[in-house]
């Protein structure tokens, strides 16, 4: 099973969630390219990380520039195929573009021999690297393009908590927002508060749904 990474896009931001290694430590699955762009390492953490360290540095002064980064990353992988010939690498890129309709989510998948490009259309609001169906299901129920950033973060926290309950993705969670102000890592306190709210919501949902199938009186 590769890394757990979830991406949710709302009108003015993209929210990324992933399993972390410890509280308040940035997840090793993520590589900050510059203020507005992030690489998500889905497969082969070690090889993916080494690729990012080697070829995705030096874009710091490039604001935005999603297309340039993708092009450079692709070329670097193409030119150094032999270094990664026995590796399976999947790296996704998320970034902020001012035009929502054009804001891309893009992945490069390298199977040891050739590079496959995966371009997700702009109307694809949500994507999870593992068992995508649950994230899509929960988002589908409540999503709105114009969700506030706070609500979107809480939704992402809730979805991540459900993945954690069902698949035990990891003890810690990292949540990052990408908006017009750039990348922002939620600090440990904020993450604790988001995850504790997710737990409250979960208990409330179970309480509210108790009488769905049960005999009257069972839930009182």
């Amino acid at each position: 099973m590769g890394s757990f990474i979830g991406v949710l896009r709302v009108n003015d931001a993209t929210i990324v969630s992933t399993d972390g290694i410890s509280e308040a430590v940035y997840s090793p699955n993520l590589f900050r390219i510059n203020k507005f762009n992030l690489a998500l390492i889905l497969d082969d953490l070690e090889a993916g990380k080494s690729f990012c360290e080697k070829y995705l540095k030096g874009f710091e002064s490039l604001e935005g520039g999603f297309d340039t980064i993708i092009k450079e990353a692709r070329e670097s992988l193409e030119n150094n195929v032999n270094d990664y010939s026995k590796k399976l690498i999947t790296i996704s890129f998320v970034g902020y573009e001012t035009d929502f309709r054009e804001r891309p989510y893009y992945a490069l998948m390298f199977d040891g021999q050739q590079i496959n490009d995966i371009v997700y259309p702009a109307d694809n609001k949500v994507l999870f690297s593992i068992n995508n169906d649950l994230g899509v299901y929960l988002t589908y129920k409540v999503y709105s393009n114009h969700m506030s950033l706070d609500k979107a973060v809480n939704l992402m926290g809730y979805i991540t908590a459900q993945y954690n309950k069902i698949l035990s993705i990891g003890k810690y969670v990292s949540i990052i927002t990408i908006s017009k102000d750039g990348l922002s890592y939620l600090d440990a306190n904020r993450i604790r508060s988001v995850m504790s709210k997710a737990e409250e919501v979960d208990v409330d949902i179970r309480k509210n749904c108790c009488d769905f199938f049960m005999t009257e009186g069972f839930c009182k």
Partner: protein, 240 residues
């Protein structure tokens, strides 16, 4: 893939599956994913449709040959444990035969390829030995028999989320039937490989294995309509 499950109620079991089969040529909603084995036992399959159908048909044939009056010197009832033992061999053999056969076209085919995951669920009442409802699971590549309190398999993750929020051990079979329809409908909304007519059966001590008719299933879907709406409203209230 598919959604297949066996859930436990206080007075019996509910078995469920969709009927969609997916291949490189496309999808068809024609697959038979579960069969009645004897009066109080049913079997379900998920994963490779060809292997699944062949194996469950073979199991049913074999059990019925043994318990049939014709061609058997001494009539007898086949116990749950015997059905499970027969299943141990049939499920693994059918899968391996398919692998060997398919290697003629694809030499690299490996039994542990995640795209080939195939599984079987046997659910029923063990009338002669333990006097309990039992649910057993076999899954490729090893087909090691495993007993579980309940099973949700293949495209299972949405259903597991719903079970975490909607299922109670105190539910009876009638209530679990409604939950089963809820799980199938909610999953097929999202998963393109789950769909088609819903196949649901119950196993109770009084009535044994009983398959729900299409009309019964449709009635349950209609009865669940306010629940679908209410569930969405609750999620919207809390998260929207």
């Amino acid at each position: 893939m598919t959604l297949a499950f066996a859930l436990r109620g206080t007075n019996g079991l509910v078995l469920g599956a969709d009927s969609r089969v997916t291949s490189f040529e496309g999808t068809a909603d024609t697959s038979t994913k579960f069969l009645q084995v004897n009066r109080e036992v049913g079997v379900l399959t998920y994963g490779l449709a060809e292997v699944g159908y062949k194996a469950i048909t073979q199991l049913v044939d074999k059990v019925n040959r043994t318990s049939d009056f014709i061609g058997v010197k001494k009539k007898r009832i086949v116990h749950f444990s015997e059905i499970a033992e027969q299943a141990d061999g049939i499920f693994k053999q059918t899968f391996m035969d398919w692998i060997v056969d398919s290697r003629k076209n694809n030499f690299d085919l490996k039994p542990d390829d995640p795209r080939l995951i195939t599984g079987f669920i046997l659910g029923g009442f063990d009338l002669n030995e333990s006097n309990q409802f039992k649910i057993l699971l076999w899954e490729s590549p090893n087909f090691q028999r495993e007993e579980r309190p309940d099973i949700i398999a293949a495209q299972w993750i949405i259903s597991q989320y719903l079970v975490n929020h909607l299922y109670y051990f105190e539910m009876n079979v009638e209530q679990v039937k409604r939950l089963a329809v809820f799980l199938l409908v909610e999953t097929e909304m999202i998963s393109p490989s789950v769909g088609g007519p819903l196949q649901i059966a119950t196993v109770t001590l009084e009535n044994g294995f009983q398959r729900l008719s299409e009309k019964d299933v449709q009635d349950l879907i209609n009865e669940n309509q306010p629940r679908f709406a209410e569930f969405r409203r609750i999620l919207l209230d809390k998260l929207g």
